[in-house]
């Protein structure tokens, strides 16, 4: 049973919490070994640059029959795999230290066997997030660590340089119990246990314009939106979405935000009418339960297991049966209850349970 899926820029990771030896599968682009080394059947010394079907990814686990993989995340050309007792494993491109290890000049990433293990955190890591070329780690204690590319301030470490070792992020989230972090492009958001929202990184598209005119914010800032307690947030490339405790969906930033072609940009979150997710006087119990972002797409899952999508329909990734962009939430016909969805740049993966 697949429990976690992640879409990177042209590749996909799937994982299961099984105690079997194979716990993670990958497919798609592998030019930077973001899927690990995939031994070619034709030539045992070569590795595949493209993986055409879900293929096992061998992890250097100390206890392969006990340790479980809890979550996977994918960025532009790197991947993070979270385990329950052996820390985090990183693979793929490390030109900016996004894999949490020292940058080696002129390192060749293609056909590489390197999988790095990260264990030095203040407590157990419970969530891993890949931004475009940076990585975020959230621990049980509510701390956030970051490494990788920092030109937009996406590492939140107070500078614009690269970082090759996961480092504790401070700013407005110092001492705050963070319960969720999200990123996919160069902007990052974090949600606290009290329902507050914090952001850092790229703000060229008004993502953080509500608190600063700076377009590159390198330290987490509290976003004092008056929209209610935040339950979950998701960052896309130019747009963000937040889900409140009441079940309302708010969008801000730039692009196709979900309120028709007229709303192209806003620094302040705007609510998407719940009727677009199926709520009505006839169906008053419908609530949005999860929100997700791809680079230029949004996805929302309701408590009835229905999937709604909107945004740019690159290569038909929205799955709505049409190739045109979708300017407001539209239901995707799926043969089952959608439990989770992972959005990429031009593809989407849904974890579905039979009705």
């Amino acid at each position: 049973k697949i429990s976690s899926a992640a879409c990177g820029y042209g590749f996909t990771l799937l994982s299961s919490t099984t105690t079997d030896i194979t716990k993670v599968w990958g497919m798609g682009l592998n030019k930077d070994s973001q899927l690990g080394f995939q031994r070619s059947l034709g030539d045992r010394n070569k590795g595949y640059e493209y993986v055409l079907e879900p293929s096992p990814i061998a992890l250097p686990l100390a206890k392969p029959q006990q340790t479980r993989v809890l979550q996977v995340s994918c960025g532009r050309a790197h991947s993070l795999i979270l385990t329950d007792s052996e820390g985090v494993f990183s693979m793929g491109n490390n030109s900016y230290g996004q894999c949490g290890r020292k940058v080696i000049e002129d390192e060749t990433y293609s056909e590489s066997h390197v999988i790095h293990q990260l264990k030095e955190f203040d407590s157990r890591v419970v969530q891993v997030v890949c931004g475009q070329d940076h990585s975020l780690f959230r621990t049980k204690k509510g701390t956030v660590y970051a490494c990788g590319w920092g030109a937009d301030g996406q590492t939140g470490l107070g500078h614009y340089n690269i970082t090759s070792v996961p480092t504790k992020v401070q700013g407005d989230i110092a001492g705050v119990n963070i319960v969720q972090v999200t990123s996919y492009g160069d902007c990052c958001l974090a949600v606290s246990d009290e329902g507050d929202l914090f952001g850092w990184g790229n703000s060229e598209y008004l993502q953080l314009a509500s608190v600063t005119e700076t377009t590159q914010v390198n330290v987490p800032r509290h976003l004092p939106f008056k929209i209610g307690k935040i339950k979950e947030a998701a960052c896309g490339g130019t747009g963000n979405v937040a889900l409140t405790e009441e079940g309302n969906v708010f969008v801000w930033g730039y692009g196709i935000l979900g309120k028709g072609p007229n709303l192209i940009e806003t620094a302040v979150p705007e609510m998407i009418p719940p009727s677009l997710f199926g709520w009505s006087d006839v169906n008053p119990d419908i609530r949005v339960a999860r929100v997700r972002c791809g680079l230029s797409q949004f996805a929302a899952l309701t408590n009835r297991g229905e999937l709604f999508v909107w945004g740019k329909n690159i290569r038909g990734c929205l799955g709505i049966g049409r190739m045109e962009d979708q300017y407001f939430p539209w239901r995707v016909t799926v043969p089952g209850e959608v439990v989770d969805v992972a959005c990429g740049v031009d593809h989407m993966v849904g974890l579905v349970k039979s009705f």
Partner: protein, 225 residues
């Protein structure tokens, strides 16, 4: 015409009295969907798609699983979704489309072939199964044909054992009167109870010009009761 139930079907049927007939016509023009529970039986095909028709064919059905059925249902829902958009005559790239979607008005507001907006499996116990179907501009016979076609898609055959309408626009089973309550008092109460939601739905959907006609009818009805 569209709101009747044929002799083999059961369920909610809305009737109008006096000015209620005008309201009924207005409601028809709202093109609201109807919801049915449809019972099916795998293993045979008949000439009229129902279980009382002349037997044409018998087939095996042990290869059918709930998952396979749900896949077929998803395909049906998907193709109908496209038809919904096409007959709604709306350009999805406009702000107007967004405004209409928010109000729940993206649906064919004129003539269209039958369109299924939601179809899901409520129960599955081979050879029997039960579906819930939300549709527009349908006939009950069309629904029986869907059951027959589902049987074919699953490389078997199926007949329809029951078509029961559980919702007609704003009217649900709860609003419906059983035969034991077909008396003046119950009917009067029922008319009174649904007045508000009928009015709300008509106002929501119809254009302002139609509203003046509606007000006259309402005044007349109020005067009557």
């Amino acid at each position: 015409a569209g709101h009747r139930l044929d002799t083999k079907a059961s369920g909610v049927m809305v009737l109008g009295i006096g000015h209620g007939n005008k309201l009924l016509t207005d409601l028809q023009n709202c093109h609201l969907s109807k919801v049915y529970t449809v019972g099916g039986l795998f293993g045979k095909a008949t000439d009229d798609f129902s279980d009382t028709g002349k037997l044409i064919e018998k087939t095996t059905f042990d290869h059918i699983t709930r998952e396979k059925l749900e896949r077929i249902l998803a395909v049906i829902q998907g193709t109908n979704h496209k038809a919904l958009l096409m007959y709604s005559n709306i350009d999805m790239k406009t702000q107007e489309a967004y405004e209409m979607a928010v109000k729940g008005l993206i649906r064919p507001m004129g003539k269209s072939p039958p369109i299924i907006t939601v179809i899901r499996c409520l129960q599955f116990a081979l050879p029997e199964f039960q579906l819930e179907i939300h549709c527009l501009h349908e006939t009950q016979q069309y629904l029986r044909k869907i059951v027959h076609e589902i049987g074919l898609e699953l490389k078997s055959s199926a007949v329809c054992t029951q078509v029961r309408r559980i919702r007609d626009g704003v009217f649900t089973l709860d609003d419906a009167l059983l035969r034991t309550r077909w008396n003046l008092q119950s009917i009067q109460n029922a008319i009174w109870d649904c007045q508000l939601k009928v009015k709300t739905e008509i106002e929501k959907t119809l254009a302002p010009e139609d509203k003046s006609d509606f007000h006259d009818a309402e005044m007349a009805q109020a005067a009557d009761s």
